[in-house]
């Protein structure tokens, strides 16, 4: 999803810019030819970084190469290698092959006969860390429910890296989560995408290069939180839309103000430069006249020129700079969304609510990257496919509220059949521990209903499709050479209810090993008699 420009903006030079962007007017235009596009190399405030979380990511410790042999490889590209090998080296997938591979020196070799390898699972919808275990009033950091429009808040500032749920998700083969704000707010704030390794800060876990998400919500939750809960706006779906529309229109005005400011500044500096050039031309011309007259005092023009030499040539005074608009982090997030730098994720259940959001998106100018929950997506799957909107949903949740009444277990299958981009998400610290089963249920429901779905399609609901929704599909989501070595080894067919992740790697480093009794990741669990994700007894599967 990254534009070339976004990647360019990652350069260290530009990373330093956002703090001084408002004072950048002192910089001269780089060349007159570029004066048409004001400050082409200076990012707007909302362009500075793909994620506000970027900066102190901690790379995985170097680990020896790992060669997994004799496994069934689900590449998630649409292809399966029934008996193949995969080499993880230097944090990347170094080789993928049918048959065997020669292990590099020092490699750990795993014979995985009868076992399966998939890309690490990615959950687009998690509140781990912002609604952590155990329930504690002190840890409710997922909804900034003090105002219904809070695009300036970000989950990276609320995430508790000691949440015991993190390690348990990894034990289920999950390597990446998008941590979203809750759905109390119409516009809940920025989401952050993390790689699941033990860390002291979510910033250390940030998926390098991943853009931020923007969480929005439609339907019941905002109006229940504010209207029913507090007799405040929004109290209806009408209020929802009005406030969302207003927020984006205000943000557009903010962007316009910035662009206008840049234009005024560019024009001013160009005018100053013209005046300066004219002055310098005058100075040069006078010097030339004087030189000529020195050489040849009889030159006829000298008398005339000399009259002018008495007038002092004053350098032009630089004009006063235009005041930059005050930074507004909330509006910058929304402008970022409208410019495609922040990916829009909308909590929305009903078909009509989703269509209302798509109309709003067209009106104010943003692209919906993924509808979340979207239990009625099947009713508008043709439109979602055409508009390239992915759908993050559950296999079978329904009925917990009015807007969830029409959920059906064939939702994902129908989306797949119609060419839309379905994603299995969880929104649940329980579901995230067995996402393979959730995909399996959606697959089984589709097949039961007569749809000829393949395992190859279904594994993409957990890997490639969510990677696309988070803008990281060039880095993860498939088993392809050059991608990050975020990989899961399963003890049997991953869509069996009896399947467990046997080992999980992130950037080629082991983050989970079944049966390994290492101390817990979470400091909270140290010295407590908690139930860690282990299996003490031999599996009882038939």
């Amino acid at each position: 999803m990254f534009s070339r420009r976004a990647f360019r903006l990652l350069s260290p030079l530009l990373l330093a810019l956002p703090a001084c962007a408002s004072s950048s007017t002192s910089a001269p235009p780089s060349s007159p030819a570029k004066a048409e596009a004001p400050f082409p190399d200076v990012p707007f405030p909302w362009e500075a970084r793909p994620s506000t979380a970027a900066g102190i990511e901690t790379p995985a410790a170097a680990s020896p190469p790992v060669l997994i042999r004799n496994a069934t490889l689900w590449l998630a590209t649409g292809k399966t290698i029934p008996r193949g090998s995969i080499l993880l080296q230097n944090g990347k997938i170094a080789q993928v092959a049918e048959g065997d591979l020669t292990p590099p020196e020092g490699a750990r070799i795993l014979d995985a006969a009868g076992k399966f390898v998939t890309p690490g699972i990615i959950d687009t919808h998690s509140h781990i860390g912002v609604y952590p275990m155990p329930d504690a009033v002190a840890h409710l950091d997922g909804n900034e429910a003090s105002s219904p429009v809070t695009p300036d808040v970000q989950t990276v500032d609320g995430f508790w890296p000691q949440d015991p749920a993190i390690e348990r998700a990894v034990a289920g083969g999950v390597t990446t989560l998008q941590i979203l704000p809750g759905s109390a707010n119409l516009i809940g704030g920025r989401a952050v995408t993390l790689k699941l390794r033990p860390a002291l800060s979510p910033r250390q876990m940030h998926f390098p290069g991943a853009p931020d998400g923007l969480k929005m919500a439609c339907g019941e939750n905002p109006k229940r939180t504010y209207g029913k809960g507090r007799h405040a706006a929004p109290g209806t779906r009408m209020g929802n839309l009005a406030m969302q529309r207003k927020a984006f229109l205000d943000a557009k005005k903010y962007e316009d103000d910035w662009r206008q400011h840049r234009t005024i500044e560019a024009n001013r500096l160009r005018d100053d430069q013209k005046k300066r050039a004219a002055y310098e031309a005058d100075v040069a011309s006078r010097k030339q006249q004087q030189a000529q007259c020195n050489d040849d005092p009889s030159l006829s023009a000298c008398a005339e020129w000399q009259k002018g030499w008495d007038k002092p040539l004053d350098p032009p005074r630089p004009s006063d700079p235009d005041a930059a608009p005050a930074r507004d982090l909330a509006k910058e997030t929304l402008v970022g969304a409208m410019r495609g730098r922040v990916l829009v994720h909308i909590h929305c259940y009903r078909a009509d609510d989703m269509l209302a959001m798509l109309a709003l998106a067209d009106e104010v100018g943003f692209q919906v990257r993924s509808f979340h929950h979207a239990l009625e997506a099947y009713k508008i799957r043709d439109i979602l496919a055409k508009k390239n909107v992915s759908v993050s949903t559950w296999a079978d949740w329904w009925g917990f509220k009015m807007e969830a009444y029409d959920g059906i277990p064939e939702n994902i299958a129908l989306l797949q059949e119609s060419g839309a981009l379905p994603i299995v998400h969880t929104d649940s610290a329980e579901g995230v521990q067995r996402m393979n089963q959730e995909a399996s249920k959606a697959l089984a429901s589709g097949r039961r209903a007569g749809m000829p779905l393949t395992d190859e399609e279904a594994i993409r609901w957990l890997t490639h499709n969510p990677a696309w929704a988070l803008g990281i599909e060039k880095r993860v989501g498939t088993l392809e050479v050059g991608k990050d070595a975020d990989v899961v080894l399963w003890d049997r067919h991953p869509f069996s209810v009896y399947a467990s992740a046997e080992e999980v790697w992130i950037d080629g480093a082991t983050v989970y090993q079944k049966g390994n009794k290492r101390p817990p990741w979470s400091d909270f669990e140290l010295g407590q008699d908690t139930g860690r994700p282990t299996t003490l007894l031999p599996g009882g599967a038939p």
């Binding site: 155990p134 043709d382 089984a444 908690t530 003490l536 031999p538 599996g539």
Partner: protein, 447 residues
């Protein structure tokens, strides 16, 4: 013990709902839409008292006790299993279900649900699972009185092979009495087993916030059990107004009396190991038949539970230390309890997704529970724990004919029910969700 403030609050909120309702009605001043076609579940004919005879022929039969019978036929009549065996002759004219190559199990039972009591979780107007009010003593509140056999949840749940559910009241300390529902039938009479199923006591902190945790709950529970015992011993004194004041009303004391007399088990909803032991001690003190529900930390005290043969109802999908009372929650709780000899019952503790019961049981197997024990944990074990084992939970002559024919291992996700029989009748597997699917199978839809 009713708090007048809470009454007022209830009244105000009802008024609010009423106003909202009128406002909505006004906003809808337009021609009424034609009534939708009845969903299959709602359209079915009244269940005859005795369904026609049925033969399920040649399946691999898990009886629910752990026993597996190959190539076995089950003869069903008058709603009951009549005969079960290899090569049984099927009388002429009897409808048959071919189960060759398939697996037959007793109908699955979810021991903790609100099926038929709640249609939509966040819509209060669809709730009949909670007596409400501030008084935590609601022992006489009966789930049976709220059970709606026409709930869409019924048809959706049985399509996944769950044929019976314990429907359980919530709220307060003594939440009330559960009911055993077979997921078919048009009336309460035709769907519910007779009589209250169990008394439910919530020690797990679902008391109102200002009433404290398990310690306060145990204190009040002891008082109520003691009052009920006193009341039962000398009802005449109470009728003459010569009793000391009791913590509970007459009907509540009567309901608790059923538990004291051993007519119904008492399900203690409790998680922390120390609190489970306290509940078991309380049960011993008053001569109750205890069942532990939740039991997140039950594995820690498995030998003691096994010794006193206390069944434990667990949800193997519990995700971890979600509260300070469940810090010891672990995914192999069921396996550890079973290994220690504790009768294990598996539940979804869910309503709309009680249909996930077999997936939940499959996960217990994944964590080490033997497969046969997992099948028992959703068939014979819940029936036995809740005191209806004589009629339900196994396939044997004389048992209610609730059974499912499966395409494969019933705990495996890819398997599916080929036929579901409830009270001897093969039921329709269509439901509101399949009706939605059918309507939207092709776009644009025709209607």
């Amino acid at each position: 013990m009713t708090n007048p403030r809470s009454l007022q609050k209830t009244f105000v909120s009802s008024l609010f709902v009423l106003i909202a309702h009128f406002a909505a009605t006004e906003a809808l001043a337009q021609p009424a839409r034609p009534a939708p076609a009845p969903a299959p579940a709602a359209a079915k004919a009244a269940t005859p008292a005795a369904a026609a005879p049925l033969a399920i022929v040649g399946g691999r039969v898990h009886t629910g006790t752990g026993e597996v019978l190959e190539d076995t036929t089950i003869l069903v009549e008058k709603g009951l299993v009549q005969k079960i065996g290899k090569g049984l002759a099927v009388p002429a004219g009897v409808t048959t279900i071919d189960a060759k190559g398939a697996i037959v199990t007793p109908g699955f039972v979810d021991a903790l649900t609100s099926i038929g009591l709640v249609e939509i979780s966040l819509e209060d107007s669809t709730h009949d699972d909670d007596r409400g009010g501030k008084d935590p003593i609601r022992a006489a509140f009966r789930a049976a009185d709220g059970y709606n056999p026409a709930s869409t949840v019924v048809g959706i749940t049985r399509a996944e092979g769950v044929t019976s559910a314990a429907v359980v009241p919530l709220g307060g300390l003594f939440s009330g009495q559960s009911a055993w529902a077979d997921l078919d039938g048009d009336t309460r009479e035709s769907a519910l087993a007779a009589g209250p199923l169990a008394l439910h006591v919530h020690l797990d902190g679902s008391l109102d916030g200002d009433r404290g945790g398990p310690a306060a709950a145990l204190h009040l529970a002891r008082e109520v059990f003691d009052d009920a015992r006193t009341f039962q011993k000398n009802r005449a004194a109470w009728e003459r107004n010569q009793s000391r004041p009791f913590a509970a009303s007459r009907l509540d004391l009567e309901a608790v009396g059923d538990a004291l007399a051993g007519r119904v088990p008492v399900v203690f909803h409790v998680d922390r190991a120390s609190d489970i032991l306290a509940a078991v001690a309380l049960a011993k003190e008053f001569g109750l038949r205890p069942v532990i529900a939740g039991g997140a930390e039950a594995w820690k005290i498995a030998p003691r539970l096994a010794e006193s043969k206390v069944p434990v109802i667990v949800n193997p999908l519990e995700p971890g230390p979600t509260t300070f009372d469940t810090l010891g929650m672990r995914n192999d709780n069921a396996a550890l309890l079973h290994a220690a000899g504790v009768p294990v019952v598996i539940t979804t503790n869910d309503t709309h997704n009680a249909r996930k019961l077999r997936q939940v049981a499959g996960n217990a197997v994944r964590a080490g529970l033997p497969h046969a024990a997992a099948i028992a944990a959703i068939t014979s074990a819940p029936a036995a724990a809740l005191g209806v084992g004589a009629k339900y939970g196994t396939l044997a002559p004389g048992k209610v004919a609730n059974l499912v024919v499966w395409s494969g291992d019933p705990l495996e996700i890819a398997s599916r029910p080929l036929a579901v029989v409830i009270r001897g009748k093969k039921v329709d597997l269509g439901n509101r969700q399949s009706a939605l699917f059918t309507r939207y199978r092709k776009l644009p839809i025709a209607r």
